[in-house]
């Protein structure tokens, strides 16, 4: 009588599930192979005694069956045979042990169970040297990924994403120039957020120039190589269904005070616009919320007289209850089928996400077709086509009236009951307006903003490639590949009338974006044993890359018929984004609506292996870029790396030390620039009546640009002990980027605000460590893996121009004057602004009881952390799989406008201090002699003190950005075959998952310090953030 056995096979070192492992009943042909998350199930005859687990590159394991129905196994890498195979540059599969640089990967199952809508976030805490910053808790928000520190002072520091050998676009089309420093706008997500986790087999992180030299200009920031699932490995038809449901709530919101309401000292509502006592004041320095009777915005009006009603707090969860519970449903169905000659996988995924802010959502439908066929033994064809449709309704961000957080966190009357505003909006309004609010100037009803000032977007994107390869001989292969990534995005921005941004009439803006990246590539690959001991593995290739972009914005600032959002309904001349310098507030100015550029490349690489334990690899590439001047548009760069497996070279066997390898390498990578930076332009703007208007553009372009260069060295060791139960990888690196092409901000007195030139040298050096431990032996029924990573990067700006005139470079500035800068000799991303004027002993100087600002600005910190790290524990027992990840960022600072304004306006709990008795500020003042300082003894009202302390001086709202987070928890169970076989299914897995569950420690009050507004270089500024979310839910995985 047969019985069912199931279980999960994992990598001994990483604990990640291993797909494609052959599981056979020893001595028979009865067997199965593991699926994508490493699980298997099979029926065994009663006579079976032993299960045999085999996989290429791993040491085979036999396990007695006994009476068990669940058998989990951890496999060790086989250092003697082929070794672990990883995907490297250009999608090549290479043995990890032969590589002279560090790479790390994540398997698909880890991405789909505890899933993130933006797959980039799944890497948080799991890869050494990779820092992920998710911008906010809004659906589809962008994520910044930084590998080994920022190399470019000003340019793109994001890695290249490559899917099955195809580079894809990862731009972040945030709406508005003001998004980066947090002054408003919409975040439409970064391009890579379109990648569907369900279709990913594995993600490999190539961490820098050394690993990515072959990718050329864009590999300098590292490469995320994604391999998608295909049908080849399945035998027969396979169907899998994966479904995740999760719920989201705000992770952290500020602590508010609930004792004082709106106004200045006293309050009475008449018209909310200054007609009453403080009734146009959007601050909470008003009367104590003690139940006294005051006419309020929502008090009944009887015979034209507004009745006094109790002045009370709406409760401490007033703001928290404003947020709805977010909900994310993801359903994936994949069909795959194949045999030795061909395979195909078709997958459909639907993502339906509802945000924590009312009326915000993201909907994404993805169809992926991945197939390949061997037309003859020598001639092979494969293709991967991915279609994504994304629809979003996203909230406005940053310090802007259209971001409701600005109102709820700072400029707010603390007596206002938000559920009452909801009723007013939904019922068509008290006082005859759906926008009727607690104040009639400065702020709109938050429900009116979220429901009637919407930012809708829709993106249709096709990413596809076609690869043909032909084996000329058994060692020489020719490949031709064409790849296309093309998308159209349509954004609609509605700003309803009566809002402060748009007082008179409805305002409507349409934006159309078109992006194309096309690569055409020919490759010849060689893999041959030159002698018995010497192997060569190499390639020569040519590539042409074409990029095109189109971005058009048209705005109708005043609609004729209210509520009809269409350009044809414009009541005034349409304003186009091409009209540089128009004074409308749609942020519609786009300098170059249409762009195109091309790079032609020739490259080659070779890796020589000696006796399979000593390896040396070289690469070389030459690019010709259309964006550089004729004389400088060709640039060549090489790399070399070497690796030596000591354990094999020295014949160490049967020792405590099971594996040891040293590696090192040098690489250079060149880089070009954006199009149209060689020739000056003279933009026009709306004619003054009949007079045309033109101006010198504020940027001085440069006809003599030359390519940027990054030189990078890295060295590392990899050791494993006790049959791989302990594994340690250490990597040190240093990279220096020179001749950076910068648009350097200059004093306007030069005649230009920016100057484009080759300048700037940035040095990054760092250390990465990965430590994997399996505390229990392989034979133990309980599997336990601990995976730890640590990375510290030290980033220094060495110089800008050769003459040394330029000392600092402003990357961006917050709306209230905090600069984010690169300064010579300092870490990248310095926060530069006012501190308090201080006495020689460091105490704050007061005048008339109020702190004084120092006119000389200072460095208040840097957003660059000291180190980042993460630890993941995985436990497996009889089909139950439990894991959790904690990660941390230590060091670095941020400036918080939530705290700056929240204290200014009296909405935060911290403003309760001294409300009745006043505040004697902690500091000194000039003594009677006019020379020495004595303790400040002047009592001032709390409102004045808070205003001066938080508004006049930015250092008062700068905080340590360190945090520790419980990033991910997952509890999974693979149902035993004995249960499953009674159904029509082959396998059932269920798991409970949580992400971002707990901000274990943080020093910035009231906010998530992991903050940014987009994926650019201006970071460390927090501006009435939409809170990040805690997510928890469950996942069901069925195979048919």
């Amino acid at each position: 009588q047969d019985r069912a056995i199931s279980g999960r096979v994992t990598d001994r070192t990483s604990g990640q599930g291993l797909p494609g492992v052959t599981v056979i009943v020893k001595g028979t042909t009865i067997g199965a192979s593991t699926n994508s998350d490493g699980t298997y199930s099979l029926s065994v005859p009663a006579t079976a005694t032993t299960l045999s687990f085999t996989s290429i590159g791993y040491v085979s394991v036999d396990r007695p069956i006994g009476t068990a129905s669940t058998i989990d196994v951890g496999l060790s890498t086989d250092t003697k045979t082929l070794g672990e195979v990883v995907v490297t540059a250009l999608g090549r599969e290479e043995e990890k042990k032969s590589l002279g640089y560090s790479i790390q990967d994540v398997k698909g199952a880890d991405l789909t169970q505890a899933r993130e809508t933006n797959v980039v976030n799944s890497l948080s805490g799991k890869i050494a040297g990779v820092q992920i910053t998710n911008s906010s808790g809004t659906p589809g928000s962008s994520s910044r990924i930084l590998i080994r520190g920022a190399k470019s002072v000003q340019g793109n520091n994001q890695p290249l994403f490559v899917i099955d050998g195809q580079p894809i676009d990862n731009q972040n089309f945030s709406n508005g120039v003001s998004t980066a420093p947090g002054s408003g706008g919409v975040d439409y997500g970064n391009g890579a957020s379109d990648i569907n986790p369900d279709d990913i087999e594995s993600m490999t992180v190539l961490k820098g120039a050394n690993a990515a030299a072959l990718y050329g200009t864009r590999g300098v920031n590292g490469v995320i190589v994604i391999t998608t699932k295909n049908g080849r490995k399945s035998r027969g038809i396979g169907i899998s269904v994966n479904s995740t449901t999760s719920f989201e709530t705000p992770l952290k919101i500020p602590k508010f005070q609930d004792q004082y309401g709106q106004g200045y000292g006293s309050y009475e509502y008449v018209d909310g616009a200054g007609g009453g006592d403080s009734d146009n004041v959007d601050e909470s320095w008003g009367p104590k919320l003690d139940g006294r009777l005051i006419p309020q915005y929502n008090s009944p009006v009887v015979n034209g007289v507004r009745q006094a009603t109790p002045w009370v707090s709406p409760g401490k969860d007033n703001v928290r209850n404003f947020f709805e519970t977010g909900r994310t449903l993801t359903n994936n169905v994949a069909l795959s089928g194949g045999n030795d000659k061909a395979g195909i996988r078709v997958s459909y995924t639907n993502l339906d996400q509802k945000g924590i802010l009312p009326n915000t959502f993201l909907k994404r439908n993805t169809v992926n077709v991945n197939g390949g066929v061997d037309i003859t033994n020598k001639f092979k064809l494969s293709t991967n086509i991915n279609y994504t449709n994304t629809k979003g309704r996203r909230p406005s961000q940053g310090y802007d009236e259209l971001n409701v957080m600005q109102q709820l966190y700072t400029w707010f009357g603390r007596q206002v009951k938000l559920s009452d505003l909801k009723d007013i909006y939904e019922q068509g309004g008290r006082e005859g307006s759906r926008n009727y609010n607690w104040i009639q100037v400065y702020s709109s009803n938050p429900y009116y903003i979220l429901n009637e000032c919407t930012n809708d977007d829709e993106r249709d994107r096709v990413i596809g490639n076609l690869t043909l390869s032909y084996a000329l001989t058994d060692w020489l292969n020719i490949t031709a590949r064409t790849t296309n990534d093309v998308y159209n995005q349509f954004n609609q921005r509605r700003v309803a009338a009566e809002t402060r941004d748009n007082a008179i009439q409805d305002d409507y803006t349409e934006e159309r974006i078109y992006v194309l990246e096309r690569n055409t590539e020919f490759l010849a690959t060689v893999n041959r044993n030159l002698t018995e001991d010497l192997n060569i593995d190499g390639l020569i290739g040519v590539n042409r890359r074409d990029n095109r972009g189109n971005r058009n914005v048209v705005a109708a600032p005043e609609l004729a018929v209210p509520g009809l959002y269409a350009l044809g309904n414009s009541g005034s001349p349409l304003v186009t984004g091409n009209n540089f310098g128009s004074s409308n507030d749609n942020n519609a100015n786009i300098l170059n609506p249409e762009t195109r550029n091309r790079i032609n490349s020739v490259y080659g690489s070779a890796r020589l292996g000696y006796k399979n334990f000593a390896f040396i690899g070289v690469t070389a590439r030459n690019d010709w870029s259309s964006t550089l001047p004729k004389d400088n548009n060709s640039f060549f760069y090489p790399s070399v790396d070497a690796s030596l497996v000591l354990t094999e070279a020295l014949g160490i066997t049967e020792s405590v030390l099971s594996f040891a390898k040293v590696r090192g390498g040098y690489a250079q990578v060149g880089n070009d620039t954006d199009p149209y930076r060689l020739q000056d332009i003279y933009p026009g703007r709306t004619p003054f009546g009949s007079f045309a208007q033109q101006t010198y553009f504020n940027t001085l372009f440069n006809p003599d640009l030359k390519p940027e260069r990054t030189n990078s060295v890295e060295a590392g060791i990899e050791v494993r002990f006790l049959q791989d139960r302990i594994g340690l990888e250490l990597t040190g690196y240093q990279s220096t980027t020179t001749d950076q092409i910068l648009s350097i901000p200059t004093s306007a007195a030069t005649g230009y605000a920016f100057q484009v030139l080759n300048a700037g040298e940035v040095q990054n050096k760092g250390l990465e460590a990965i430590l994997n431990i399996a505390p229990l032996p392989a034979t133990s029924a309980l599997q336990w893996n601990i995976q730890t990573n640590f990375a510290a990067n030290r980033n220094k700006v060495v110089k800008f121009d050769d003459e040394g005139q330029i000392k600092n470079l402003i990357l961006g500035a917050s709306g209230f004057g905090v600069n984010v800068e690169a300064r010579i000799g300092e870490r990248y991303g310095v926060l530069f602004a006012e501190d308090f004027l201080r006495a020689p002993d460091g105490q704050i100087i007061y005048e008339d009881g109020l702190p004084v600002a120092d006119p000389t600005r200072k460095i208040l910190g840097s957003y660059t952390p000291d180190w980042v790290g993460g630890i993941t524990n995985r436990l497996g027992f009889k089909g139950v799989d439990f894991s959790f990840t904690i990660d941390t960022r230590q060091g670095g600072q941020l400036q918080s406008e939530t705290n700056m304004w929240g204290n200014y306006t009296g909405s935060l709990e911290s403003t309760l201090k001294g409300r009745e008795e006043g505040i004697v500020g902690d500091g000194v003042m000039l003594g009677p002699d006019g020379k020495t300082y004595v303790p400040n003894n002047v009592n001032v009202p709390a409102q004045d003190w808070n205003a001066a302390y938080y508004y006049n001086v930015r250092s008062s709202s700068v905080y340590d950005a360190s945090f520790v987070k419980l990033r991910e928890v997952r509890l999974g169970y693979q149902l035993p075959k004995s249960l499953v076989e009674k159904t029509f299914l082959k396998g059932i897995g269920v798991s409970a998952v949580g992400r971002n569950l707990w901000l274990i420690s943080s020093k910035a009050p009231g906010i998530d310090p992991e903050t940014s507004f987009n994926s650019g270089n201006v970071q460390g500024l927090e501006s009435t953030q939409i809170p990040s979310v805690r997510s928890y839910g469950f996942n069901i995985n069925l195979t048919l």
């Binding site: 004041v281 933009p683 004093s747 306007a748 005649g751 330029i806």
Partner: protein, 487 residues
């Protein structure tokens, strides 16, 4: 490999050539907008000169100015900003184009406009980059321009204006297109050039008499054209259609934080000045509707005190305080750079100081009449009666009393021209204005006498900034400028 690369990289989006006409229009309108926009004017000169006051968000009215305002004034006048391009850079390039095309008229227009806005900048900040400014190009590597002493800036500007007049006296027939100020009328440009030279020379009178006196005497020697009617006024008349509307109008679309200052309503009321109904709108409601002992202010001209705290300003109520007169808030209100009445006030002062001969009082009276006429008040008898009032009548007792007469009437005449009103208030020290109610900014118990340098200068031009501060004095709003000699 590189076939077609140049075509690939030729910008299809923006003009690659510039028309001097379009350059002049763009620069004239952008700089005029900026001169009357919030940072320099509405929340700057007009508050300090106590023409306007703030009824809400009173921080600037209490002398706590935003660093972003200093930045936008500096960036805006030098190069223009991304939102509003056009600045000194464009006038400077127009001068170069004028030289290359041997067009003396174009050169003169460029020199006059460049001088005007350099003087605005130096009057706001003091020492500024001038001789090194606007030089950066692909061949000239001046990334960190040094600051010139204000005295040297003034010497340079006076020389440039003299040069402009010399060029205009050639009476070239070469056209200047795109001129929205004078429609290419070179006679009017010549008048403006000389009038501006008079303004700048007089500004230097207390600091360097040796420099100023010969200049003033030269301008007023009868051989130079000066403004002789309000038709000669230098101004940009904004349009009624966005985005070319007046900045005050633009501001009123989204804000309502300004009211007329009590300082000017009381001065005008006491003199029964016919300009009051033009400068201010009547209050729309009662100050204390519930308190019958307080007279109903509805319909009265009721300014508010400068520098109130937010809570006090709130108690208005807002509708009980006079808004700024419709004349100044309409979409197509003019942005006035210089007027005929100013020329007459300067003439009066030059006569009072004995630099030139003539009847100072006659010039003073004409200046008042010119200002009245500027606002359409042409009833001769009424204006004569106004001038005859003891409070208005020219006081010849001493130079000081003459400065008081001139200073007070000029302050009235310059209503709305915030930067110039503030400059002349600093120089003449008349009228006496009381301190704002609750100043918090570091003005040292006085009215602010300059603006702080924009904070980005500490990042982008640090060494020169530090040198300028070391020479001029601490970078504070209470540090006096060179021409602002303590009396």
């Amino acid at each position: 490999c590189e076939k077609g690369f140049e075509e690939f990289n030729t910008n299809p989006n923006q003009p690659l050539t510039v028309s001097p006409d379009a350059l002049l229009t763009g620069a004239e309108t952008a700089t005029a907008f900026r001169l009357f926009d919030v940072p320099a004017n509405m929340d700057g000169g007009l508050l300090i000169a106590q023409h306007w006051a703030k009824s809400q968000y009173t921080t600037e009215d209490r002398y706590s100015f935003r660093s972003t305002s200093y930045q936008s004034i500096w960036d805006g006048f030098y190069t223009g900003t991304a939102a509003l391009p056009g600045g000194l850079k464009d006038f400077n390039e127009l001068l170069r184009i004028g030289k290359e095309s041997n067009n003396p008229n174009m050169q003169a227009v460029a020199l006059v406009m460049r001088s005007y806005y350099f003087s605005v900048l130096t009057d706001i900040f003091g020492d500024i980059p001038y001789s090194d400014a606007l030089k950066l190009s692909t061949t000239v590597n001046v990334i960190t321009p040094k600051y010139d002493k204000q005295e040297d800036v003034y010497k340079g500007l006076l020389a440039d204006l003299k040069q402009a007049t010399t060029l205009l006296k050639q009476k070239s027939t070469m056209a200047v297109g795109g001129d929205v100020m004078f429609g290419g009328n070179m006679t009017k440009w010549e008048k403006f050039s000389n009038s501006l030279r008079l303004r700048l020379a007089m500004r230097a009178i207390d600091a360097n008499e040796g420099l100023a006196k010969p200049e003033i005497a030269d301008v007023l020697n009868g051989s130079n054209l000066l403004m002789t009617s309000n038709a000669d006024n230098a101004q940009v008349v904004f349009l009624s259609a966005q985005p070319n509307t007046n900045p005050v109008f633009e501001n009123r679309l989204t804000r309502d934080d300004h009211r007329v200052s009590q300082s000017i309503t009381s001065v005008l009321s006491r003199r029964k000045d016919p300009r009051l109904p033009i400068y201010a709108n009547p209050a729309e409601c009662a100050a204390k509707p519930d308190d019958k002992s307080v007279p109903d202010s509805t319909g009265l001209y009721r300014g508010i005190k400068n520098g109130l705290t937010n809570p006090v300003a709130q108690r208005g109520p807002l509708c009980s305080m006079s808004k700024v007169g419709d004349y100044f808030t309409k979409a197509d209100a003019p942005g006035v750079l210089m007027t005929w009445s100013e020329v007459l006030f300067f003439t009066a002062e030059a006569r009072a100081r004995g630099i030139v001969t003539g009847d100072a009082e006659a010039a003073y009276n004409s200046a008042i009449r010119a200002s009245m006429a500027q606002y359409g008040i042409t009833d001769v008898a009424a204006v004569d009666a106004y001038i005859a009032q003891p409070l208005v009548k020219y006081n010849k007792t001493s130079l000081e009393t003459q400065k008081a007469s001139i200073g007070t009437q000029k302050w009235i005449a310059l209503y709305g021209q915030g930067v110039e009103a503030w400059s002349e208030l600093r120089r003449l020290d008349y009228p006496f204005l009381s301190l704002p109610a609750s100043p918090v900014g570091a003005a040292g118990g006085k009215l602010p006498v300059r603006f702080r340098y924009p904070s980005n200068e500490q990042s982008l031009n640090q060494a020169n900034y530090t040198a300028a501060v070391a020479r001029q004095g601490a970078d504070l709003i209470r540090t006096r400028l060179w021409w602002d000699v303590k009396n």
